[in-house]
């Protein structure tokens, strides 16, 4: 790698008491905010654009550009919403930011709110985050008590209130417009776009929704400069990535890695996954959370950069890498993925509400040895009614959950068709029907 690697987000995770205000200030915390308050909002937005910071929730949309969509002359209040509804299978990164360095997020929030002219920020954390949420609540209380938040942000006449709101178990609420509905106290049914939240968002007001990791990068950008941040990454993607490595690797974990690292390095490097269990080889790797179309073993030389995946019809997504080895049934793996989207479909759009469970039933039937010729075509048909393959823009549903469930089916069946056909022709799963592996003794 040509660029020397330095940790950005997880830099201070191992420092003592980092999750408290005292610990955070000891490592230089809230000094950047002080610096930022002397800049104009436009200067901040320009810096963020220059840093090439892109949304870490999965879409990789340039953050500064997103902020630029907020109308400056709107008489309505503006809101910042932080998406901490981390629930994409394979992804466990935001949780650690909340647990280990919550003030990094809070300082980022203050910077973003100052730039956007937002006096209220809601952090929407998933309901299952009992412990991460408790750490965050404590940090918010500390920031109020210290005069950072409240009626005068760091002794400026700028009022800033930050509230944590907890979800209650619905993956769909990670979708930005469903998140807004949920914040408004409703069930999480996504909204049609346009209008985009930047114009009509929370309570009908201009709103920016950003992922936790995205906001947490802001204090660093203003500490070391936009050029530094941009320089860490690739041409169009600044910074580093938090990668969640799971599945068949010797050392699963959440690691910060350079944008230029490859999926293969994440699996085999001594710093990260340390290879696979004895005698196993990768069969398939999901690169960016379970909705990212699967890669074959020959495709894992791809880097973590958002733009590297287009030729492979996949995506870097949320940085959740799931490794499936050659002793694992691919049909069963896909069934597990599809079940998730069937369970989590909000029920608003017919192709997704009906299609995801239909695909799940077909996969189970094939896995249990009752597949019939034609089932694979039906599977692909149902998926294509939700979203086209290869992926081109958005599918046929209000939000991308439809695509998220269809793309795995399409990519698995296209890339591993023989294994699906073998299940059907032999009327059994070649890997047997026992539950998968023992727990606590992964080999």
């Amino acid at each position: 790698m040509s660029v020397p690697f330095e940790k950005v987000i997880s830099r201070d995770w191992d420092k003592p008491a980092q999750s408290t205000l005292v610990g955070y200030k000891r490592s230089g915390g809230y000094k950047n905010l002080q610096k930022v308050l002397s800049l104009s909002p436009q200067q901040i937005i320009d810096e963020v654009k220059k840093s090439n910071l892109r949304g870490r929730g999965g879409a990789g949309f340039p953050t500064g550009v997103k902020w630029g969509f907020v109308p400056k002359d709107s008489p309505k209040p503006k809101y910042l919403c932080v998406n901490a509804d981390e629930s994409e299978p394979g992804t466990a990164k935001d949780r650690y930011i909340l647990e280990r360095d919550p003030h990094l997020l809070l300082e980022g929030i203050a910077i973003a709110c100052w730039a956007l002219g937002a006096h209220t920020c809601y952090i929407y954390a998933r309901g299952e985050f009992k412990y991460p949420s408790s750490v965050l609540d404590r940090a918010i209380a500390e920031a109020y008590a210290d005069g950072i938040f409240g009626r005068r942000l760091m002794d400026t006449p700028f009022a800033l209130d930050v509230y944590q709101v907890r979800g209650a178990g619905a993956y769909i609420c990670g979708e930005e417009t469903a998140l807004l509905e949920s914040l408004e106290g409703k069930k999480g049914w996504p909204r049609l776009k346009p209008p985009f939240p930047a114009v009509v968002g929370l309570f009908g007001c201009p709103t920016v929704v950003n992922n936790v990791e995205t906001i947490a990068a802001l204090p660093r950008i203003f500490e070391k400069g936009a050029e530094w941040f941009a320089g860490l990454g690739t041409e169009k993607s600044g910074g580093t990535r938090l990668v969640t490595l799971s599945g068949s690797v010797n050392r699963p974990g959440t690691y910060e890695a350079p944008m230029q690292a490859t999926v293969e390095e994440m699996i085999y490097s001594q710093e990260y996954g340390q290879g696979m269990p004895e005698g196993r080889k990768p069969k398939a790797v999901i690169p960016g959370g379970s909705s990212a179309p699967v890669l074959t073993a020959s495709e894992i030389g791809v880097s973590l950069d958002f733009d590297a995946y287009r030729p492979l019809h996949s995506m870097a997504g949320s940085g959740g890498i799931i490794v499936i080895d050659d002793a694992t049934c691919i049909v069963r793996a896909l069934w597990r993925v599809t079940r998730f989207y069937a369970e989590e479909s909000c029920g608003q759009c017919t192709p997704c509400r009906e299609g995801q469970p239909w695909m799940t039933r077909l996969l189970r039937k094939i896995e249990e040895g009752h597949g019939q010729p034609g089932d694979l075509d039906t599977l692909m048909d149902v998926a294509s009614a939700i979203a086209p393959w290869p992926p081109v823009g958005l599918g046929n549903t209000v939000c991308a959950l439809g695509d998220a469930g269809a793309l795995p089916v399409q990519s698995f069946v296209t890339k591993f068709r023989e294994e699906f056909e073998q299940h059907i022709s032999e009327q059994r799963c070649p890997y047997g029907d026992k539950p998968w592996g023992a727990f606590g003794d992964f080999k």
Binding site: A92, G167, G169, Y171, P252, G253, G440
Partner: protein, 162 residues
């Protein structure tokens, strides 16, 4: 006559909680507090009794159907009285690859129960991804998170429940 929902002391606590929540929202958007208000009710009662949901709706100046709709949309709300211990076992792909199916079978056997059945003491159910993929397999017991589970660890955790 059914038991009253709250004692007087509990009413006071509930109303204080609601008042605190309402401070977080614009004054003409009281119903936005629906999720945290239902959480408050569930924390106090262990579940969401119908008369409690009606009370929430009343306090938030919305209709009770709104409360029911939200309560039934999100899986963490209990519209039926749950078992003493609700055990959510993640069986999404990352956990399944590391033995979550065996973990589920282990729990069913140990606790003499069937996943998905709400018993008196235990309610074991399959949950979707709990954001613990790199520390799989995992489960949550009444929202407390346990990860990197081994049979020994699970035995110990279950022992502590007794």
């Amino acid at each position: 006559m059914s038991d009253p929902l709250f004692t007087q002391e509990e009413y006071r606590k509930f109303d204080e909680g609601i008042a605190e929540l309402l401070l977080h929202y614009p004054s003409d958007r009281k119903s936005a507090a629906m999720l945290p208000a239902l959480r408050l009710l569930q924390t106090m009662k262990g579940w969401l009794p119908p008369e409690g949901m009606e009370l929430v709706a009343q306090r938030l100046e919305t209709h009770k159907e709104h409360a029911y709709e939200v309560a039934t949309f999100y899986v963490m709300y209990h519209t039926q009285k749950p078992a003493t211990y609700v055990i959510d076992v993640c069986t999404s792909l990352s956990c399944s690859l590391r033995g979550a199916e065996s973990l589920l079978a282990f729990l069913e056997k140990k606790l003499d129960t069937c996943a998905g059945v709400n018993g008196e003491r235990y309610f074991v159910r399959e949950a979707e991804c709990l954001a613990s993929c790199s520390t799989a397999p995992c489960f949550q017991i009444n929202e407390d998170h346990f990860e990197s589970l081994t049979p020994q660890k699970v035995e110990q955790i279950l022992e502590n429940l007794k």
